[in-house]
């Protein structure tokens, strides 16, 4: 039998094994189901919705700031409020929007792209979401009490120390980020384990989609980059609350140590945000160019290289602090070198489009717009690698312009493009093309009108993080333009949101594969059932759904118990490099324990903030005991005696019936 397309592959697999598999993958309903679910798709959507809420809040903050800066000596907000707005805006956009939003994409898509049924640690995944939501609540509610972080998202000491900021603002910052760090680290580890162990058979490392590569590199970066931030925040909290002297110069501490630790995290973090976003582009561009991505090994190498080099460039945030010239020349060189892998990606997409034939759908339009603005952010990025230019323009509005081109252009554009691309998969609905075009052009125009003038204001000497400015310095017109742009941008984003919400209620039902995509997620229903794939396919190429043998495998493997895993709530484990099948792994059922554990942590961190140390210990105990409850080795129904059941396989790679229990 020969299968024509992804939709056919989906139907063949569902017909062959859908009912058998679905029995073991029930979906929880009601409030209980909502709290206890460990389904990666529900968690992924939840991440994206929550991150979008934080994006909206932080965006409103930005709009208030722009309103304040419309005219010189503006009096819309007080300087104290302005400082909280810009600090929380940065902190929220970086930590509570960009990373969680992209991790939401990852959560939803990674198992689907890999051809498996869930993340490696589903309960840990649910826990990660609850911690993220709780940490966001913790951080944003501080604004209501007037104690939001107010020393910038970078929180330089000594300003962030107890002496100059005695109120709770910076305790909210340090504890909030430590709290969130648990979630981010956990997600990173989960992505790595999933990508290494749960790929469909045949998906060797040279057949892994670029988006997955990007997410895995990002996850490795999280594993290595978050510790310096966590350490710095822990030391800041100890300094502020318990009188240690890590960052206090009068006690022998060092104010620059904070900057080193912060940027040792901070610069990799730029790529932690941008890499998965570029991965989204690498998913969109081939689909709408009707050909596989150009120079796949080169773009994968570039992704990995970016991850590694990004740990050697942090000092370019510190060129003005008075470092030795030799150190600056080294970090300048590293910062220049890291632009090469970015260039590779740009030309890989351009090459894909040039060799292919472009279909100008809405997601592709966002990808094209992204390429243009990202290149503009990239060329100014190279400028900052040149030490004297950096020393002149750092901490000016030129930097604000630069990093919004990189982060808004380089992450938000792909995110919105990705939302339009995978919306049918996320929701089962299609979006209006006309509304999508309006949304793109409004955002594109509003974005450029907002941020392009900031280049000029910066070159004209306007420093950043000022709550107002004096008239007659040549900055007035550019600020006025930026503010006008900000409102246009807000309108564009509102149109985007309305387009999506309208589609949710009224959109036409989406077929499994509306765009003719190349990766496995399109061979599932829109939205996918709880079990994702009734039959685990065998992957024969980098673009499995454009590959006849892979398409056929959806039907053929339905005779192999190893590929169907219909005996329980199971997924298939494969080898790390060659994705050869190993064993079935039993996945955990829905459970409220992750929710309880995260709630315990919320109590612990809130009590720590308010100085109730006994309550903090109680909260930590709730967390600890739920963790033990969670990890206690249990005998499950369906696993005879021990957790692992190892029947003698019948050979042929289909060792049916073998399985082991999951650990987390």
């Amino acid at each position: 039998m020969s299968i024509a397309d992804a939709a056919g592959a989906y139907r063949a697999a569902e017909e062959a094994a859908g009912e058998r598999v679905a029995r073991h993958w029930p979906e929880g309903h009601g409030l209980r189901g909502w709290i206890t679910t460990v389904d990666h798709k529900r968690i992924g959507r939840r991440y994206m919705v929550t991150a979008a809420v934080f994006f909206t809040l932080a965006g409103i903050e930005a709009l208030v700031m722009r309103t304040q800066l419309t005219l010189p000596e503006g009096k819309v907000v007080s300087p104290g409020v302005y400082d909280q707005l810009f600090s929380l805006h940065g902190t929220a956009m970086i930590f509570f929007f960009a990373t969680p939003m992209l991790f939401g994409f990852g959560n939803f898509l990674l198992p689907l792209m890999l051809g498996t049924r869930d993340m490696a640690f589903p309960r840990f995944n649910a826990f990660g979401y609850w911690v993220f939501a709780a940490a966001g609540l913790f951080m944003f509610s501080s604004l209501l009490f007037g104690v939001a972080p107010n020393a910038g998202w970078f929180a330089y000491v000594p300003l962030s120390g107890a002496r100059y900021t005695p109120d709770l603002n910076l305790d909210v910052y340090s504890l909030g980020l430590l709290f969130l760090g648990i979630s981010t680290t956990g997600s990173g580890i989960n992505f790595i384990a999933t990508a290494l162990k749960l790929r469909a058979p045949g998906m060797t490392l040279s057949r892994v989609p670029v988006f997955v590569w990007a997410l895995v590199v990002t996850s490795f970066m999280v594993v290595f980059a978050l510790p310096p931030l966590n350490l710095a925040n822990a030391m800041l909290f100890l300094d502020r609350r318990f009188g240690t002297k890590f960052f206090v110069p009068t006690g022998g501490g060092d104010a620059l140590l904070w900057q080193h630790l912060f940027w040792l995290f901070g610069h990799p973090d730029v790529y932690i945000i941008v890499l998965p976003a570029l991965g989204i582009v690498s998913a969109i561009v081939p689909t709408f160019s009707r050909r596989p991505i150009a120079a796949y090994p080169v773009i994968v190498l570039a992704t990995v290289a970016t991850g590694i080099i990004s740990f050697g460039v942090w000092v370019h945030h510190m060129f003005a602090v008075g470092l030795p010239q030799l150190a600056m020349t080294f970090f300048s060189a590293a910062s220049i070198v890291i632009t090469i892998p970015a260039g590779i990606q740009i030309f890989s997409w351009l090459g894909t489009m040039l060799l292919g034939r472009v279909v100008l759908a809405v997601p592709m339009l966002w990808a094209l717009g992204f390429i243009l603005v990202f290149v503009l952010g990239g060329v100014t990025g190279v400028m900052f690698a040149i030490v004297p230019f950096d020393q002149q323009s750092t901490d000016s509005y030129f930097v604000v312009a630069h990093f919004h081109y990189v982060l808004f252009g380089g992450a938000v554009f792909p995110i919105i493009g990705g939302v339009f691309y995978w919306w049918p998969k996320f929701t089962g609905r299609t979006t209006s093309v006309r509304a999508g075009l309006w949304s793109f052009w409004l955002v594109f125009a509003g974005f450029n009108l907002t941020f392009f003038p900031m280049h000029i204001a910066g070159l004209l000497g306007m420093p950043r993080r000022v709550y107002t400015f004096s008239p007659g310095l040549g900055w007035d017109a550019w600020n006025l333009l930026s503010t006008a742009g900000a409102y246009l941008l807000a309108v564009g984003l509102l149109v985007t949101l309305s387009t999506l919400l309208y589609s949710l209620r009224r959109g036409a039902p989406a077929p499994p594969d509306p765009w003719g995509g190349e990766t496995l997620e399109w061979a599932t229903a829109s939205p996918p059932p709880t079990h994702d794939f009734a039959v685990i396919p065998t992957v024969y190429s980098l673009h499995p759904l454009w590959d006849q043998r892979t398409l056929d495998s959806f039907h053929e493997e339905s005779r192999s118990p190893l590929h169907v895993q219909a005996d329980g709530h199971d997924v298939l484990r494969t080898t790390e490099l060659d994705a050869e099948p190993q064993l079935g792994v039993e996945m955990p059922e829905d459970t409220p324990v992750p929710f309880v554990a995260a709630f315990g942590l919320l109590i612990a961190f809130t009590s720590l903030l308010l100085g109730g140390y006994l309550a903090a210990i109680a909260g930590a105990a709730v967390f600890g005991f739920s963790l033990m409850w969670w990890l206690w080795p249990r005998d499950r129904p369906g696993s005879s005696g021990g957790g692992e059941r190892r029947g003698e396989g019948e050979g042929g790679g289909s060792a049916g019936g073998e399985r082991e229990e999951a650990s987390a």
């Binding site: 008075g322 300048s332 190279v382 070159l459 004209l460």
Partner: protein
């Protein structure tokens, strides 16, 4: 006031060098952006309908040429230019250069001329055409010293002393501003560098070194008594009087300065009066409490401060 403190209208050696660097980088950027834009336009021009599968082929040669080889050549060139400029902008080892110490405060600038032994605030006078070395430190949090038209910025880091230099090419008043976020009034922490001919500068130095003039009588004399009797004296120094506080800026020659409150307001009697009676409404959060002075006392005080040139 004054013209835009633009990095693109340099009046100092360092800033001129960086402005040149900017135009080079800008030119390269325009070429790159146009190249990408043209490729994108071409791609869109030959777009097609859904359902057509295009030819394959790896595209590796294109990606490696455009994404690695060409950028590597351009970047190596840019890096070399950057290194040359970095070397030329290093702090010179000229032992005869004038040394000025700048101490950052929340939210004003203390300026010391150690060779002449006086202290002033928010205004830095330098002789045009000579190299001036700046020794930067902070009394509280981090700040950054930035005069866009004269030199690249250098941070003031708590617990450290940083050095930088500048050389003004033309006479003029150049606006500078703190560039490192330093709290509530970071936005109002400006200063001015006044480059003047050597002779004019020498006479300014001599004038600043003198203590405050003793008023002959009338309102200024009364104002001096108000200054010494009120809480002003606890925070400010006016050399030659009993006011010797160290918290706020030295006011010995405040009358000669162009601005008050670190560039926040011009130095006119009206603004000065407003500042003294309620500085919090002008620059919320600054360290100076409102001074409830009788109207007559306030007028005398303003008159006295105006004489301190």
């Amino acid at each position: 006031g004054g013209a835009a403190p633009s990095t693109l209208s340099p009046a100092g050696v360092g800033a001129r060098r960086v402005a040149g660097l900017w135009w080079l980088l800008f030119g390269i950027s325009v070429v790159v952006a146009v190249l990408v834009a043209v490729l994108l336009a071409w791609v869109m021009a030959r777009r097609t309908r859904a359902g057509v599968h295009a030819r394959t082929g790896s595209g590796r040669a294109f990606v490696v040429t455009m994404g690695v080889v060409l950028p590597a050549i351009v970047l190596a060139f840019v890096y070399a230019v950057g290194l040359r400029d970095l070397r030329d902008l290093a702090v010179p080892r000229d032992p005869h250069a004038l040394v000025i110490e700048v101490v950052g405060h929340q939210w004003w600038w203390e300026v010391r001329y150690p060779a002449s032994g006086f202290v002033t605030a928010n205004e830095i006078h330098v002789p045009t055409g000579s190299t001036v070395r700046l020794r930067l430190s902070t009394a509280d949090v981090n700040h950054s010293f930035w005069v866009p038209q004269l030199a690249v910025k250098t941070d003031l880091i708590a617990g450290r002393v940083n050095e930088m230099w500048l050389r003004a090419e033309h006479d003029g008043v150049y606006r500078g501003q703190c560039a490192e976020y330093c709290g509530l009034q970071h936005g109002h922490m400006a200063f001015h560098v006044i480059a003047q001919p050597a002779a004019e500068f020498a006479s300014w130095l001599a004038g600043q070194a003198r203590p405050a003039a003793v008023p002959a009588g009338g309102a200024p004399a009364r104002g001096l008594r108000v200054l010494e009797a009120s809480s002003c004296a606890a925070c400010h120094t006016v050399r030659g009087t009993r006011a010797d506080g160290k918290v706020g800026p030295d006011l010995t020659h405040v009358g000669g300065r162009r601005f008050l409150a670190a560039g926040a307001i011009p130095n006119t009697p009206g603004y000065l009066g407003g500042w003294i009676s309620d500085s919090q409404s002008i620059k919320p959060g600054n360290a100076m409490p409102p001074q409830p002075l009788a109207p007559e006392d306030l007028r005398s005080l303003i008159a006295y401060l105006g004489t301190l040139r």
